[in-house]
Amino acid sequence: QEDELTLQLKWVTQGQFAGYYVAKEKGFYEDAGLDVTIKPGGPDIAPTQVIAGGGADVVVEWMPAALAARERGLPLVNIAQPFKKSGMMLTCLKETGVEGPEDFPGRTLGVWFFGNEYPFLSWMSHLEIPTEGGEEGVEVLKQGFNVDPLLQKQADCISTMTYNEYWQVIDAGIPEDQLITFKYEDQGVATLEDGLYVLEERLEDPEFKDALARFVAASMRGWEYAAENPDEAADIVLEYDETGAQTEKHQQRMVREISKLTEGSNGTLDPADFQRTVDTLLAGGSDPVITEDPGDAAWTHEITDMAFE
């Protein structure tokens, strides 16, 4: 008798989620007595809303969004954190003359919204740059799904992930030496990405906790396997991509880039990372992303402890 679990991803089927697909394909979940359904995300899917509506048991979400949702009365709890580092960055065309954050005022920057804008907003408030445009501030665009704004020169800089959009810019024909990047990690405003979250009240159920522990353990096995066999992991991801739109080259590269972000995490959340994220979000000047420290209730080691004992 297998326990059923539904996992809602943050984005479409791609190398970013290789660990989960590998675990499913390789039978790691089955071995753990789990029947896991993986639901791909997309630009119109807010994992937080899906879990609130009961459409998933576990979601992959960025911590800023999860904490913001918590403040809005949706008590999400981080049960594991496979991603150690942030992959977010701002990518600019060299020809625009942007060399450092001090050049941002007066520029047009592309930003993802839909709950992904928090890291950017807190960075800007760190820099004390208003986001309402004008001489002093930056002009913010709601960036669509792709890197066109940069290629079409509608924005001076756009948001990219180290593992995805950045390479799309390269693939489009702009050589690396024409680009300037600002990684959030390097700017000291990194926030935790791609953690696993569940609803707090469900953690009172020991059977569910047990299933979660097995799920986290099996997922981490998947991540390890993916890191060791990136090409095979990419193939598995492609296998699960039903749109038929992904390419092998891009996914193989993505899985390798993702390994750099998962490196250094066995799945257990480092409370220091958590605190750093919270501090970054709280430091948002007049308009912080979250207004008070959520405290330890927003995460638990219980599951990872059970998983790795």
Binding site: V12, T13, K39, P40, G41, G42, P43, D44, I45, A46, Q49, V50, A52, G53, G54, G55, E95, G144, F145, N146, V147, D148, L151, Q152, K153, Q168, A172, G173, I174, P175, Q178, D241, E242, T243, G244, A245, Q246, H250
Partner: protein
């Protein structure tokens, strides 16, 4: 509307029926072909013009000079053109429609089928709902006065905005898969059906109604023997609008359901990766599907109305 039977002096001559038929086909096809040809010419010109910026930028980055003919050649073969040239779209369509097995996820036919199944289910829901509402409106004055204004208001709500919420709400009551998509598609298609069907059910003239009253016919008999048959032409006219709306609804519904399969997913994934060629071919496929569906409804209309003796 009021096209005269034949222009004076526009004789069919001795060519007879076959000739007349051929003439009819040529009469219809020629203008369309001419317009399509014109569109292609404009399209190519626009492709060169719109894509040349990128070519020039790239040359500048590489520090090269380009001649006009090089620009033209490059603009028509770019990987991520701002506007793909018609032949690029044609090649992509050939690849994904003809060249792939229809069970393959890279086959557009496969994706089209996914979208069509949601479309048809949604169209079914929408049509049934629309007809039921129309029957209620026609027979019940309170419904007549209260439903219509709200039905109009419902159509001013941007469906893309509430689609994710519909999906989540349905999800939370355990409805998943094809049905949520179909419901979104039904949301768009019920409206034209209500509007058309209400005027259809009310189309019998006073005299036709009075005739049945002189027979002392019941409300049900009036409905089955008069209102319903009289509404058929109206019904079909709105079904044509409705099925096109259903298709749009099904595509919209694919986005918040994970956009994993279907034409909507193709459009979106083309969009993520800047694959304009893929977007264009999916777009054209969607339009072809719409034309096909409308055509099928039209054919059914012809048959039904003919069997009912209502088309000359």
């Amino acid at each position: 509307m009021n096209i005269p039977l034949a222009a004076p002096g526009a004789g069919a001559g001795r060519s007879g029926r076959v000739g007349l038929w051929l003439r009819g086909v040529a009469d219809k096809a020629l203008p369309v072909l001419a317009v399509v040809a014109a569109i292609f010419v404009i399209w190519y010109a626009a492709a060169v013009w719109m894509n040349s910026q990128w070519t020039l930028d790239q040359a500048a980055r590489a520090g090269q000079e380009v001649t006009f003919s090089e620009i033209v050649a490059d603009t028509l073969t770019q990987d991520r053109p701002k506007l793909p040239a018609p032949h690029q779209v044609a090649v992509e369509l050939y690849d994904t429609v003809i060249d792939k097995e229809i069970t393959s996820r890279r086959s557009l036919v496969f994706h089209a089928w996914i979208t069509l199944s949601a479309t048809l289910l949604g169209f079914g829901f929408g049509t049934v709902l629309g007809i039921l509402l129309a029957v209620g409106i026609v027979h019940n004055r309170a419904m007549d006065m209260s439903v219509m204004p709200w039905a109009i208001a419902s159509q001013t709500i941007p469906i893309l905005a509430i689609a994710p919420m519909i999906i989540v709400v349905l999800n939370s009551v355990g409805v998943q898969g094809l049905v949520p998509k179909a419901i979104i598609s039904a949301y768009l298609s019920f409206f034209p059906v209500v509007v058309g069907m209400v005027s259809g059910l009310r189309s019998p003239q006073g005299m036709q109604m009075d005739l049945l009253r002189t027979y002392n016919a019941s409300t049900a008999e009036v409905f089955w023997k008069l209102r319903l048959p009289a509404s058929m032409p109206y019904l079909f006219a709105s079904l044509k609008v409705g099925i096109a709306a259903s298709l749009v609804g099904a595509i919209v519904g694919e986005l918040p359901t994970g956009a994993v399969r279907g034409l909507g997913a193709r459009l979106l994934s083309g969009s993520y990766y800047g694959q304009t060629v893929q977007i264009w071919s999916a777009l054209i496929m969607a339009a072809v599907c719409a034309a096909l569906l409308v055509g099928i409804v039209g054919a059914v209309q012809k048959i039904v109305l003919k069997r009912m003796g209502m088309s000359a």
